[in-house]
Every structure is written in structure tokens, then in C-alpha cells.
Amino acid sequence: MTPRLLAVLTALFLGVFLGPAAAAVASGHPAGMHGGPTLSSVAQDSEESLQGTLRGPDREAVSGVTVTVTQDGAEVGSTTTGDDGRWTVPVPGPGAYTVTLDTSGLPEGVAPRTVGGDVLDEVVVRPGASQGVIFQLGEGEPDDGTGGGGSFDWGRAAQLLVEGIKFGAIIAITAVGLSLVFGTTKLINFAHGEFVTIGAVAAFFLSTSPGNLPLVLAAVLAMVVAAVVSGGFEVAMWRPLRNRGTGLIQMFIVAIGLALLLRHVVLIVFGSRRRQYDEYTLQQAWDLGLFRITPRDLTITLLSFAIMLAVALMLQRTQIGKAMRAVNDNSDLARASGIDVERVILVVWILGGALAGLGGVFFGLTQAVYPEMGFALLLLMFAAVILGGLGSAYGAMIGALVIGVVSQMSTLWFPASLQYMWALLAMIIVLLVRPQGILGRRERVG
């Protein structure tokens, strides 16, 4: 991702035809005119708001700090954080808002983790939603992202590398299912992201009220839920469709419909808010010299790697794993040699669903639980799977780690809001250079 390429892309899309003079946008938009999504005639009568809880580096609540919400430069509302660090600002309607934290009110030695971290200028409020806003606070003076006087900040790089590996590992365990399903059925399962969401949401309901189970137990049950949903659709829908001889493109579009359906059913049940699990949210990070990591994140990363290893061992050593690889290579041949292909495919769906559900819990723990989380992850999973080579489970794992690291490390140089963009661009560039992916095979013609 060279700056040159970036410049080219930017120039091309933002008006290369209009000459190099990048004049500033004519100012003086009538303020107050609402600029939210205008495509759909969404409900305007509902109560949108922005809210959050301000926490310091040790996760303790920070009170008495002013938060101001503006839109197009005009103030929409302002409030002060309460004793529990909570704040809420109602807004007139859905749209994009800028939320500013008054840093002068912060306690001594507490500052935004990054320069500009006190202004969040792309907060989108969806219809009827109470959008959560998180200001990331750290210790001391803000880090300006380049390590001060232009020299490379190795400490931050190491920290981001670790974050990237963690994120990549989570993508990896969710992407395994996507890859295995593609390998065995040739279906690009667009609804795979929803299994992630379903897992995360199931664990949320099980671990908070009404379930009130310990999160570890809830996570295991969430895996079961996601596996049942995943396997259920295989039995009730995908298998009959395959037996009917439905075309792959047709099934792909069915999967898109299913994804829309599931995501919005979850949205109705769960609401659009980003929520956190009750447990393991407030943790003191361990300082491991080069980087800091919370015990939770370390556990998640190690568990994810253990799962990847287990999946690899299963594929190599066990009967069912070998059968999966055989079906992956050539399902007709596998069927002819006595493998119960339908059973193998069912196991793949169940396994893939369970791992996606667990990935959802992990993602919810490290970030937040919200209905769009699955779709956000889905594109990254696709990127991982394509990077590694469609249908190769090992390729998907490697691809996921690359995607995770690329998206996190990009924030060393580029705005954090663009981190997913780099991951997707990486995928497109790999497609250019090596269409079969890192571990994929070139296929024969005719």
C-alpha cells in the first residue's frame, strides 16, 4: 500500500477530471438541515440519541467532563458525564454527528490515546438508535501516532502487531467455517457473518438477564446455538436446494437474502445499541515489556490459536477431517469411494457455525456486541478466505492473520476509520497478482 497508489486512487475518484486544484467545498451549507440517510423514508418520530460511558485508562469512570455534539458545525446538544461516567445527548434525527470531548475537564495524567481522539467526527446514528460512543483514554500526553518527532514508534508498532494478531486470530476461527463450507459445497455463504452475530447475541442474553449464566458457560451454549442455526439451515434449506439441482449463483443470492433476514431479526430482538458483556470488561492490562495486553485478550488469542491448531489436526488426522478434505477435493469422487458426503457437509456446517459463534463472543468481548458485527466481519472473512485461496482452510487462517495485522498496523500511518479499507484493498491487490490466493491452486481449463 504505497502512498503513490493511494494518491492515484484518491485522485481518480475524487475528481481527476476536474484538474488538480482541489478547491475547498463551497462552505455555508444551511446548518441544521439534516443530512442523514435519505434513501429510505425512515421513521423520524423515534428518539435517536448518542450515549456512552467515559472511562479512564484503568477503566474507572471519569465524571464531570463536558461532551458536545455538533452537526455541520452547529451545536446539537451538550452534557457532562455523571458519577458513573455516563452521558447521553438526544439528537434530532438519524445522521452523522461530531462528538467532542472537552479534554480540559479530564483528570491529571489522563488524555485521549491518540491525537484527535477527543473529536469523533463520523458517529452515525441510525433510525431509532441510541448510538454508543467510546472515547479511548490513556495515560499521559496523547500519542500523535508517529512517535513524536517523526521517528518510527516501535512500541506502538509492537502493540498494534499484537492487536492485529489477536484480531486476525478471531477472524481466522470465524473464517474457517466459511472456507470449509465453500470447499465442500462451493457455496459462498453470505449468511456466515450472521452466525457470528447470533453467537455473540446468544451469549449476551445468556450471560446477562434473563440467563445470568457465567460468560464461559454462556459462550459454550452460544456455540451450540450458532451450530444449531447453521446446521438447521443446512438440513431445512441448503440440502433440499442442492438435491433440487439449484444453481450456485441462485444459492448465493438465497444466502444474501438469508443474511438480510437474520441480521434484521437480530436487530429487532437485540436493538441497534452496541453493548458489552458484564464479565471481563474491566481488566488491568499486563505490561509485557514490548506491549500491553489484558488477560482477557491474551486468553482469547491463545484460545483462537489452539482452535486453529485443533482444526488443522482434525483435518489431518481424524476420519471426519480426512473425509472433509476428500469432499473438498472432489465431492463426486468422495461419494463414489463411499464417503457419506451429506453427513460430512452437515458436520462442516455445524462446526463452522459453532466456530463462528465463538468468534462472535470473542469479537463481542474485545469490541462490542451489535447486530452489524457479523457483516463487518464478513467482508474481512471474505478477504481472508480469498487471500488464502478459496476453499483452503489453512489458507483462510493465514489470510485472516494477514488481514488482522494489515488492518491494525495501517493505523500507524493512516486514520483508524480507514483500517478496514486497507484490509479490503489488500484483498483486491492479491486478486490482481495471484488470483488463486496464497495457498490456492491454479485450476485447469476444459
Binding site: F13, L18, A26, G128, I188, G257
Partner: protein, 329 residues
């Protein structure tokens, strides 16, 4: 419950400018998928560059709106070339993922702070289509009993529906020519087309550009329609809407997308109005469904509709069922 009001609303939705704009974008998608078999899941990206090309030309470079639309079209051509060169040689399913990713990349890019001087970032752009409304020949609102359309809406409807119908007619001319025959042969089997001396890549590229241009015009009209523009209006879900519209009407049918859009928006607005009325009248307790959930219900309904269509009537309303039975792939 006021059923007349629900019906009027639904009809208004079916005939309104949005239905026309979506129809136009779906005509483009039909060129891609219906006739060439390209799995373009990034049509919204073409709409985005079209809309922004238009708005930026007007706001930043003070060009007339008409020129702005041409700039938007040029942006779509460039996007098609950039996107097509790497992806059109790939297998269809790769193309699907690459296009949806490309559309998202564009959205991230346009809303980023880098692009803010031109695109306005997350704040978007406003008031760039005055030139369009100055040309409005309609002076008063149209009042037809339960229907009434403002002069503004009427002007947009006339322009948007004309554009959609013209586009469909043009596509009709094209696909019933030898060019269209090659396009359809590429859809059926590109290796066979190549073995007969057809430059498959060039045809796919032409198809991508043509359909993308329709998408860009639709994007421009969308921007004009609301006089405001925001990158987050161009979410992937728009593309899924377009797919539903195309399949509902009947893919690889010239008038399929037009019919599809009318029916789609009728059903969608009907559902919307109906739920609103039902909740308002207490027929659906608000504990089950709050008014703020209606948006989600409607997305879910689109998803369910797309699934059912694809499973039970993949040829859509006017598609050729016989043709579809031959689809062995």
C-alpha cells in the same frame, strides 16, 4: 386502519422518483448479470461515484449540473475500468466479493478525513442541484383525488422515469443485436465464446461500463432528488435492493427491472404504511414491535422476499420459466 391511505402511500411509493431511480440502476445491473452473467455486487459503488462526481463538479468547480452528470458518468467509466481489469478475468464468485469490497472501499474513502475537502467526509454535501429545479416546467402541484405530487416531485418523476425507460429501451436495442448475442454467449459459457474468436474480456468490460454508467446516472438523480449526499447513504444494502428488484421483475428481460422496481416499492411502502397504521391502531402491541423497528422489519422482509423469490420463482414476474429450467449450472 385507513386502508385507502395505505394503498395511496404504496402507489405513491411505486411511482415516485425513488422507484424510477432504483429501476435505472437495476437496468444497469441487468446488463451485468442478466445478459453477461457478471456477479456485480458493487453497483452501489457506481451510484456513489456518479452522485459525488456530479455534486463535486457543481460545488467545488462551479460547473453546470448537466456537466456534473457527465463527470459522474466519466467517474463510473473509470471505476469500471479500474475494477474490471483485475476482476473480469476471475471466476464469477470472486468478482462478487471483489465488487462488494470495492464499493465498501469507496465508501470508506469518500467519508475519510482525507477526502473531506472534496466530499465533505461524513458531513456530506448539500444544495448542488438548484440548476435542476430551476428548469422545472411544472408550476403547480398535481392533485388527483387521493394522490398529490408536488411540482418538485413531479419534475423529478418525469425525468427519472424517462431516464429509466430510455435506458431500458437502449438495452433492448443492444441485446437484440449480434453484440447482445455475444454478451449472452459469455453469460452461458465464456470459454465457448472465446473458442469462437470472441474477445470475452472486451465484452465483459463493455458490459461493466454500460451498466455502471446507468448506475452512475441513477446515483446522480438520487443526489439531485434529496439535494444532499452522504457516503453512508451508499451502503451495500442498496445493491441488495437492486438485486431483489432485478430478480423480482425478471433478470435478462428488458422491462424486468422497471416492473420489478414498481412492484418492489409498492410492496415495501405498503408494508411500511401498514405496520405504522397497525401499531398506531394498537393492532400490534408496541411491546412486540415498536415504530422504530419498522425499518428493520422492512429490511428483514426484503431478505425473506429475496430468498423466497430465488427458491420458488427465480425467473421473477416476467422472466422466462422455460429458460430457467435449463440453468444447470
Amino acid at each position: 386502519m385507513d386502508f385507502l391511505a395505505i394503498l395511496t402511500n404504496a402507489l405513491r411509493g411505486a411511482l415516485g422518483p425513488e422507484a424510477a431511480i432504483y429501476a435505472l440502476a437495476a437496468v444497469g445491473l441487468n446488463v451485468h448479470f442478466g445478459y453477461t452473467g457478471l456477479l456485480n455486487f458493487g453497483q452501489v459503488g457506481f451510484m456513489l461515484v456518479g452522485a459525488y462526481g456530479t455534486a463535486i463538479s457543481v460545488l467545488s468547480f462551479e460547473l453546470p449540473l448537466g456537466v456534473g452528470v457527465l463527470v459522474g458518468i466519466a467517474c463510473a467509466v473509470v471505476l469500471a475500468l479500474i475494477l474490471g481489469i483485475p476482476t473480469l478475468r476471475l471466476r464469477g464468485d470472486y468478482l462478487a466479493i471483489a465488487t462488494i469490497a470495492a464499493a465498501e472501499v469507496l465508501r470508506y474513502l469518500y467519508r475519510s478525513e482525507w477526502a473531506e475537502p472534496l466530499t465533505g467526509g461524513v458531513f456530506g454535501l448539500k444544495q448542488f442541484a438548484d440548476g435542476f429545479f430551476e428548469l422545472n416546467p411544472f408550476t403547480g402541484a398535481l392533485d388527483l383525488g387521493p394522490f398529490d405530487f408536488s411540482a418538485r416531485a413531479l419534475w423529478l418523476m418525469v425525468v427519472a422515469w424517462s431516464a429509466a425507460l430510455l435506458a431500458a429501451g437502449f438495452v433492448g436495442l443492444l441485446v437484440h443485436s449480434p453484440w447482445g448475442r455475444v454478451l449472452r454467449s459469455v453469460r452461458e459459457d465464456e470459454l465457448a465464446a472465446r473458442s469462437l474468436g470472441k474477445n470475452v474480456f472486451a465484452y465483459k468490460m463493455q458490459s461493466l461500463v454500460l451498466g455502471g454508467v446507468f448506475g452512475a446516472i441513477a446515483g446522480s438523480l438520487l443526489a439531485v432528488n434529496s439535494q444532499s449526499l452522504n457516503p453512508d447513504s451508499f451502503m451495500p444494502i442498496i445493491t441488495f435492493y437492486l438485486w431483489t428488484i432485478m430478480i423480482l421483475g425478471g433478470a435478462s428481460r428488458v422491462m424486468g427491472p422497471i416492473l420489478g422496481s414498481v412492484v418492489f416499492w409498492f410492496l415495501l411502502t405498503f408494508l411500511d404504511s401498514f405496520l405504522r397504521q397497525a401499531i398506531g391502531a394498537g393492532l400490534i402491541p408496541s411491546s412486540v414491535l415498536a415504530p422504530s423497528d419498522i425499518g428493520a422489519v422492512r429490511f428483514a422482509a426484503v431478505g425473506l422476499g429475496l430468498m423466497l423469490l430465488m427458491i420458488f420463482r427465480p425467473a421473477g414476474l416476467i422472466g422466462n420459466q422455460k429458460e430457467l429450467r435449463l440453468d444447470v449450472r
